[in-house]
């Protein structure tokens, strides 16, 4: 029953998505040249996607799909805390990656990268003193090596840290 609801919800989401994109397709400018309008191909895709989403919705409402045993065992515990515990690791990965990208303009690729890997290692592997040291070595070693290789070996200009800005934000410097 849970799978049924999930599938129905996904199908409805897809239908809404089709609606949003179909409405947005009217904002596409009509050029005075060319035969195939820039909106034709996307609209054809949206139409096909809409039809398939309806079929998917219909299937999800009519088919009582049985959840495989192994999948059933792996389902999260009921309640928000159970759900959170089940998805804890992926959520942390996304949150930390988001933080990594958000801090990139300030800290730069090297510091943000090391920070991201170090925090992720601790979140996933545990915060014991031994782990902290090991994780710090892994984060600094791996990201430092990769950063050096790209910066000095391949000549790629990776985002630098903006410390003056950071100090201003922190109120250390005027």
């Amino acid at each position: 029953m849970e799978r049924l609801n999930k599938d129905s919800a996904v199908a409805i989401f897809l239908l809404v998505l089709c609606g949003v994109f179909f409405a947005a397709s009217f904002d596409i400018r009509v050029p005075t040249y060319g035969v195939l309008l820039p909106s034709t191909w996307p609209r054809a895709i949206i139409a096909a996607l809409g039809v398939l989403s309806l079929i998917y919705l219909f299937q999800s409402l009519t088919n009582s799909q049985e959840i495989p045993e192994d999948e059933e065992q792996a389902l999260p515990q009921p309640g928000f805390s159970g759900w959170l515990a089940y998805w804890k690791n992926p959520i942390w990965c996304f949150v930390l990656f988001f933080a990594y990208l958000a801090t990139l303009p300030v800290f730069g690729m090297l510091i943000s990268g090391i920070g991201f890997v170090f925090l992720l290692l601790n979140v996933l592997g545990g915060w014991s003193a031994k782990n902290l040291v090991f994780h710090a070595i892994v984060a600094i070693g791996c990201i430092g090596a990769m950063w050096s290789l790209f910066t000095y070996g391949l000549g790629v200009i990776l985002p630098p840290s903006d410390f003056p800005y950071l100090l201003t934000v922190l109120g250390v410097s005027s």
């Binding site: 040249y33 996607l49 998917y56 990656f97 890997v117």
Partner: protein
Amino acid sequence: MILENIATAFGELANIKTIILMLVGVAGGLVAGAIPGFTIAMAVVLTLPFTFGMPATQGLATMVSVLVGGLSGGLMAGILTGIPGTPSSVATTFDGFPMARRGEPGLALGIGVWSSFCGGIISAVLLVTLAPQLARIGLEFNPWDYFMLVIFALTITASLAGKNMVKGLIAGLVGLLVRTIGEDEAAGIARFNFGSDAMLQGFNFIAVLIGLFAFSQLLSDVRDPAQAKKALMDKGSVHIRIEHRRALREVLTRWTIVLRSSIIGVFTGILPGAGGSIANILAYDQAKKTSKHPEKFGTGIPDGIIAPESSNNAVEGGALITMMALGIPGDVTTAVMLGALLIHDVVPSPTFIAEEPVLAYSIFIAFFLATFMMVGLQSFMLRVFVKVTRVKMYVLTAVILGFCGIGVFALNNVEYDLWTILWFGILGFLMRQFGFPLAPMILGVVLGNIAELNLARAFAITTDLSPFFTRPWSLFFMIVAVFSAVYPMYQDKRGTKTWTLYYPALLLIAVSVPLFMMGGFIRPSIGFAIMVGGIYTLYKARVTHKATAA
């Protein structure tokens, strides 16, 4: 001419720097392929940024080496631990693991290595000979044909999702829709940017691919906190010696299995959407069906290792044939390879082999050389593999995510690409959880602009839709697309519904029609043979139907 091109390509690759890079590539691929959860596509993607500064030949040779190494790496994990390193080595575990447990891991590994080598060499030979021929056929393709070829590629990829065909098609369409975001390539008009200047440039498809595939895969690997803290594998010994001589003898005495499995691999690879994961099972199944002792399969016999390992190495040769000759990637790995080619300003198309013979043949020869390197490095990398398997999954995940960040930024030096990884990582992860296959979506993203550009070209020639039905190749792809769309239903209902009796016959008869339309002598003759086969199958189906009804 071919020999001249091969000699020139050899000359291009025969420098110490390229050879070292290829060796490193094969070694890296072997380790990556051996680690469960770390796919070949991921290894190729991570290698891509390192090749930016290299000349095209060198960079592509390195990428091909990673690919070949990755294809063979899966067998180490499969044979020693029973856990396949990649989906393309699933069938290898059926007999490889029992043989290793019986006390012959060195022989099992040796058979795997030499079968991979033979499969790779056979596919390299077919790559050199078939790719130019297919490219010649590709020159006949007009925009209508290309458009239908893309539709066929997407349909067959979606149909491989089996009972989830609808989800497969939805995934493919979402991929096509994603590709429409940003400036329209034909007219340069902004589409679906929702007021964002950043979205005007669209999404870099390598970043989309890493997000969808690699990011979501890594997150799935660490979903279970207990599993994430475990070492990749606890089993495995460093004291194994690969028995090369004995293994080679075993492989050569079973050359028919090697040849048949390699051909299965190459043709599965040529088919868009199908890949090593299908080829190894198909080849194993064929070897079992044709064996005098099918009951021994699964107990640790050489035949059960030779078949899947020959076929999975041959697959990429086949996939490269289609990609190099037509510019259509067959699977996720070749989609990444296509991205690598485009980054090096190489645009695969039917004219590519004729216009850039040295580069094209360098790729073929790199594939060939990397196969030799793979055999040489396998023994050494076995020790590295055992050490790598002691690493815990979460450590690998965190480090690879960090590497992905640096590597993807280096693609275009644009931070927006990193955000693309995040958004598509979330999307890919959710799609996995809801049972949507990712391969159709990835192909949709890769092939979306090819489909649209060809549709625009077709409409620029005429707004009449009839060429889709009257042009032989377009009709051919349309017919196979329709039949491949129905195939999951056929598989599901076979033996229970009457119409399934007629499916193969109707497919053969339908496919013969465009062949008759192609003109000349050979193709209509093939069409005639297929038609006769179809009518005979129809007759047999009719007889079976009557017998069942009676």
